[in-house]
């Protein structure tokens, strides 16, 4: 009997050793991808930077620090075709809502430093027009000031109004143009679409140049939801 027990013990330890070795061998052979969001969004990093800080390319915007609700809305809009840019539409086509929300949360919580503003390429008069439209709007044409929705410090408002700083002039200009022509749209009422359609080419150049000339905000965090009342209703913001 004792021998049988011994034998069983031997087999058990042999078996145990075998399995431990097997497990060890598997670990050693197969290095896994890091289980982090940063590793998962490497598909985004080539154009938007590892932390969403943006790159030198004028048309790939900074993502970090924008309100999570805004980023989530954009991811949904790209996936579902409300916002058209084929490379983005393609990358997001088969990603579920819950994951897009996590991607939005990741970039919203990142705080990489801002790059210094690029040199201004427009004349003083144009820059001045930009400043007026951004800070005061144009009541005669019913154009609201940018700051009336995007906040006095232009860092946006939770949950879904984006900040306007740290973006390249060409990007801002392209987006306002896209809204004017309908290749960028959002859930109705499409407030930004309404505003963009009131702007002419010169306005857009001026606004883009002025915003891109501003230095990084000292506190880039979007203001809390409901901090101020917006002049028009937006479908992307659930009031």
């Amino acid at each position: 009997m004792r021998n049988v027990a011994k034998l069983c013990g031997f087999f058990l330890s042999a078996l145990f050793a075998f399995f431990s070795f097997g497990a060890f061998a598997a670990d050693a052979a197969l290095e896994r991808a890091p289980d982090t969001m940063q590793a998962r969004v490497m598909g985004c990093a080539a154009c938007h930077g590892a932390h969403g800080e943006g790159t030198d390319n004028d048309y790939f915007p900074r993502l970090s620090g924008k309100p999570a609700g805004y980023l989530y809305n954009q991811l949904l809009a790209f996936r579902d075709g409300r916002r058209k840019y084929p490379p983005m539409n393609y990358l997001l086509a088969y990603l579920p809502d819950a994951y897009l929300k996590q991607i939005a949360d990741y970039f919203a919580s990142e705080r990489p430093p801002f790059a210094p503003p690029a040199p201004v390429r427009v004349d003083a008069k144009t820059l001045d027009l930009g400043k007026t439209l951004v800070t005061k709007g144009d009541a005669s044409r019913k154009v609201p000031a940018c700051v009336s929705c995007h906040g006095a410090s232009m860092t946006g408002m939770e949950p879904a109004i984006p900040g306007l700083l740290g973006l390249h002039a060409d990007y801002i200009s392209a987006q306002l143009g896209a809204w004017r022509y309908g290749t960028r749209s959002t859930v109705a009422p499409d407030c930004m679409g309404q505003v963009a359609k009131l702007l002419n080419d010169r306005d857009i150049t001026a606004i883009a140049a002025y915003l891109a000339s501003l230095p990084a905000p000292s506190d880039p965090v979007p203001v809390a939801a409901g901090s101020f009342k917006m002049p028009l209703a937006c479908g992307s913001v659930h009031n």
Binding site: L30, Y90, L92, A93, Y94
Partner: protein, 420 residues
């Protein structure tokens, strides 16, 4: 993306005339909840939703454009709506359409509707799908007429096409094979309609039976649907069942991930099947004869020179941009960062897929088993044609891979391939 899947063949049912005929007894009254549920599952296996629903549109409302070499087809509304959907159809009429490729009014369907596969579906399964479709909300959305060029806008031509490429008949189980193999065969050859992409089509838009599952280029969308035969070099012969199941069910495996049109198939269809059904499909696929339509000719001198001239630059780019994820020896960090060494998708005769992955990047689908997939960045914006050709040549020929070098011209042409 997958909206393009069925472009390969001329398409889709025009149900227009049919819907105008006032017959009232069509609704599947009395279909029990279990049948509806089974129908929903089978509709997933058939991936009806991918073609018959616009992205973010109303389910089964149709209207999805499909560019084919013959013009653009618009998928019809298959919701339960009586005026614009199939709400007036009977289960019998639905089965006739699935089985014979003829619509309710007798008109011939364009073969973008995969009736050459669906003909294998049993009457009971067809009835369950019908009961499910009848249980879905009615979507009032009139069908959009197809925009086909002459002579393809003449349905009479389909008679000739059908005599060449269509054999009507329900799937007959093979008693010499296991129950699992038969289940897999039924799904692959029937609702799964895998041959639509994985069997090459000829100039007439028909599948060539002798080349079944040997792979082929999907026209217009410009992705290569790889061989599914058990051929060791090009097909699945060298894959374990678990890896095939992983690929089809989760979208990732230790051998590679799905991307391009196959990502949509997994996202909309395969992830919803039971693992048993997916395993049965894997068993069937792995048992396909080991034919290969993908044998490369020995490299010419010009090709060999291309490799010699491009590879050093390719290695430099690989080490700087790719090795972090795919590892120094191309072994990857599976399943999330796929291996490139000994990967058919990289080595196969057609270099379309590896070139496009480098240009466009891609995320595998988010699935129940892999809800947070890792993504490959696009490099179209940062690498030149020469650099892309160099790095793809490198990964196709390094670490014992035996793919052929790619040319700068091939890369340049694929820059304009449709993305979405």
């Amino acid at each position: 993306m997958l909206r393009f899947r069925h472009f390969r063949a001329l398409t889709v049912a025009v149900f227009l005339a049919a819907c105008a005929v006032p017959i009232e007894h069509a609704v599947a009254q009395g279909a029990d909840a279990a049948t509806v549920k089974r129908g929903e599952y089978l509709a997933r296996a058939g991936d009806c939703i991918a073609c018959h629903t616009l992205p973010a549109g109303k389910t089964f409302g149709g209207g999805r454009p499909m560019d084919t070499p013959f013009g653009t087809l618009y998928t019809p509304n298959i919701s339960s709506d009586k005026d614009t959907g199939i709400g007036k159809w009977t289960a019998e009429e639905f089965y006739t359409m699935m089985h014979t490729g003829k619509s309710r009014d007798g008109s011939l369907l364009y073969p973008a509707m995969p009736f050459t596969s669906y003909t294998n579906v049993t009457r009971a399964d067809s009835d369950a799908i019908y009961a499910f479709l009848m249980s879905t909300p009615a979507v009032h959305q009139p069908n959009r007429p197809h925009e086909l060029r002459f002579p393809f806008n003449h349905r009479e031509l389909l008679l000739g096409w059908r005599s060449l490429f269509f054999r009507e008949g329900v799937y007959k189980p093979d008693a010499s094979q296991s129950v699992e193999w038969n289940r897999g065969a039924y799904l692959v050859e029937g609702l799964g309609h895998c041959s639509m992409c994985h069997t090459a089509i000829n100039a007439l838009g028909g599948n060539v039976k002798s080349k079944a599952f040997e792979g082929g280029l999907i026209p217009i969308q410009n992705w290569y649907a790889p061989s599914l035969t058990s051929n060791k070099e090009a097909g699945l012969g060298d894959w374990s069942l678990d890896d095939i199941v992983g690929l089809l069910h989760a979208g990732v495996s230790n051998r590679g991930a799905v991307y391009g049109p196959m990502a949509e198939v997994v996202y909309d269809s395969l992830q919803y099947l039971t693992e048993e059904d997916v395993r049965a499909m894997a068993v069937y696929l792995k048992a396909l004869p080991a034919r290969s339509g993908d044998k490369s000719p020995p490299p010419s001198q010009a090709v060999a020179e291309e490799k010699t001239s491009l590879s050093p630059l390719g290695k430099k780019i690989y080490d700087a941009q790719c090795a972090e994820c795919h590892a120094a020896q191309g072994q990857g960090k599976p399943p999330d960062f796929p291996p490139l060494a000994n990967n058919q998708s990289i080595e196969m005769n057609s270099a379309v897929n590896p070139i496009r992955m480098v240009l466009n990047g891609g995320y595998p689908p988010g699935t129940f088993k892999n809800p947070k997939p890792y993504g490959m960045p696009p490099f179209a914006q940062s690498l030149s044609d020469v650099e892309v050709a160099a790095v793809v040549t490198y990964i196709r020929t390094a670490w014992g891979n035996h793919g052929a070098p790619v040319t700068v011209k091939e890369v340049n042409e694929l820059r304009s391939a449709p993305l979405y």
